[in-house]
Symmetry: C2
Subunit: 336 residues, 2 copies
């Protein structure tokens, strides 16, 4: 079977099974969070390491010639920082692998690294080393670690996908849909208006919500994920991991204002609910905690729905009158 | 300028400068070993994390259709374990990025992961997660961490490239040249004889010398590197980092026995001294310590030369009568 038929998540499931079979299913006692959350977590002596990896491939995740190399470098760091933020942690050390064809210009790669350095400085990340390899197209693969505290019982104090309970409220940072809209503007050759340029920027230079994630954790919130695959899809990951369902109020969604200027209302809703790469945080917890969080952080926080008791793990997008809305599938399956 | 004109090490130097400029050259106090050794090292609370990354790209580092997928998976872990071993440490946690075209067979990727799992079990590595991305060719990128103890002054107790002193002896584990010879046998379509098959195996399923590295560190040896680019080239890295030179006695080199059966003596010497991907360890230290090490480990250890006081950092390959031998350039520049 081709991996395109299995899809990204089907393949990951199979590969995880193969690994478990070879290892006889034994995971060491120090591994606190394994495959299946925004980042892995393992215990050191008196704290824990949080680690994640994300890769950008030319012609898959960015368009050489249209995306400035500096932005590719920035984004390669920012998307990884977003995963660490989604665990409620601060990032610290990175390793970078750069794949490149032998005939690429050194200046372009130096621009890419300037973007890496700019983002590293912005988020307090130290690049500790890496690897340069020849490859048919440029790719940049980043591994990023962060630090988590341990609870009294030796478990890591982090935001998990599995921390949602029926009755919890669901909130998102910032605005939704701009990055996916920016990609569409880029692909159709747009970008003349200020709104269109704003959307392109949001696609090429996403911002990771570290302050929101770490503050949420400090306040006692224990469930979060970053929105990389699209709101509904990432919320579905939470529902599956937590064995719950979710209702989202469509009129509450913080649809990006530039997006609303450039796209029709139905398209704007579809991009906000289903478009990927926003890198906003989705946080789940008690209403009072989310209210307190909203007051403490600089970025807007909007409550958009509620967790339900539902062992079928349904995620429903509802109108104000409670009717279900069907959206065209807009999530990212990176292998489809 | 094309990166092929700069070469791998020229490019890495430039990218490192770009990063330093963006970061204003500030490295945090917790970073103990940065860019330029076999692995990076940073301090946790009471120990240190050692981290490395290495990537295998189809048609660059392996040949789809000729290299079994299981061996690609094995090697992707083993080459990273070798870097951790070269720091004198045990490996523990890995993250894996798998790049693949959408039309590749899932069975092949499962075989690759079976090899990953086999190697992980063999070396005591736990795969904690990773990423699957679409790419024009298959690549597998592994990040591996290990653990180091701290000295009383808060520095990491590891093997460094910068630890060589004039008068130290130079030793290597195992035998040299088999992996590079195996690649040549593979490329010319050989592999019928037992010796040829042995060489191919050594290229496709290298073994990392964790016992030798960790025992060396325990004995008080403080300088090591793994032989991935070729003996002379990797020794040159040590000489540059330690501000010394080196003399190697060609007749002392433990040239692989299968290699001597398949290739002419001059070629065998060139492959042993210059061929890459042996993943043996090169260890530098006092003669008595190296002798003690040789007695304690299961793999053969051979003294092949001596560190010299030489601020030009020359690495000389000498005959028994002390004459210099010039070899064709056989090191690996991955961008050339």
């Amino acid at each position: 079977m081709k991996v395109s038929e299995l899809g990204e998540f089907g393949l990951i499931e199979r590969l995880t099974e193969v690994l478990a079979a070879e290892n006889d299913g034994v995971a060491p006692e120090r591994l606190l969070v394994g495959i299946g959350d925004d980042a892995a977590v393992w215990r050191n002596d008196t704290s824990a390491t949080v680690a994640t990896t994300d890769t950008l491939v030319a012609d898959v995740h960015f368009l050489p010639g249209r995306t400035p190399w500096r932005d590719v470098g920035w984004k390669s760091i920012a998307v990884n920082v977003s995963d660490i933020a989604a665990m409620g942690c601060w990032p610290n050390f990175a390793l970078i692998t750069l794949g490149l064809p032998a005939d690429i210009e050194s200046d372009d790669m130096e621009e890419l690294y300037a973007g890496v350095g700019e983002a590293a400085k912005n988020y307090g990340v130290t690049v500790t080393g890496g690897d340069v390899v020849r490859a048919p197209v440029v790719f940049v693969s980043v591994v990023l670690t962060g630090r988590a505290e341990l609870d009294d019982d030796g478990q890591a104090r982090v935001l998990l996908r599995s921390g949602a309970k029926a009755g919890d409220k669901i909130a998102v940072t910032g605005s939704l849909g701009a990055a996916a809209a920016g990609l569409r503007v880029l692909l159709r050759g747009g970008g003349e208006s200020e709104d269109e340029q704003e959307l392109i920027d949001r696609h090429q230079r996403p911002d990771a919500r570290v302050e929101a994630g770490t503050t949420a954790l400090d306040l006692g919130i224990r469930c979060g994920i970053d929105i990389s695959d699209g709101l509904l899809r990432d919320l579905a990951h939470v529902c599956q991991a937590s064995d719950v369902g979710a209702n989202i109020q469509s009129e509450q969604l913080p649809i990006d204002s530039a997006l609303k200027q450039v796209f029709e209302p139905a398209q704007a809703l579809a991009l906000a609910a289903g478009g990927g790469e926003d890198y906003e945080l989705l946080l789940v917890g008690e209403e009072t905690l989310l209210e307190e969080l909203g007051e403490q952080i600089d970025v807007p926080l909007t409550v958009i729905g509620e967790i339900t008791a539902d062992d079928a793990h349904r995620v429903r997008l509802l109108t104000a009158s409670g009717q279900g809305i069907e959206l065209p599938s807009e999530g990212w399956d990176h292998l489809a």
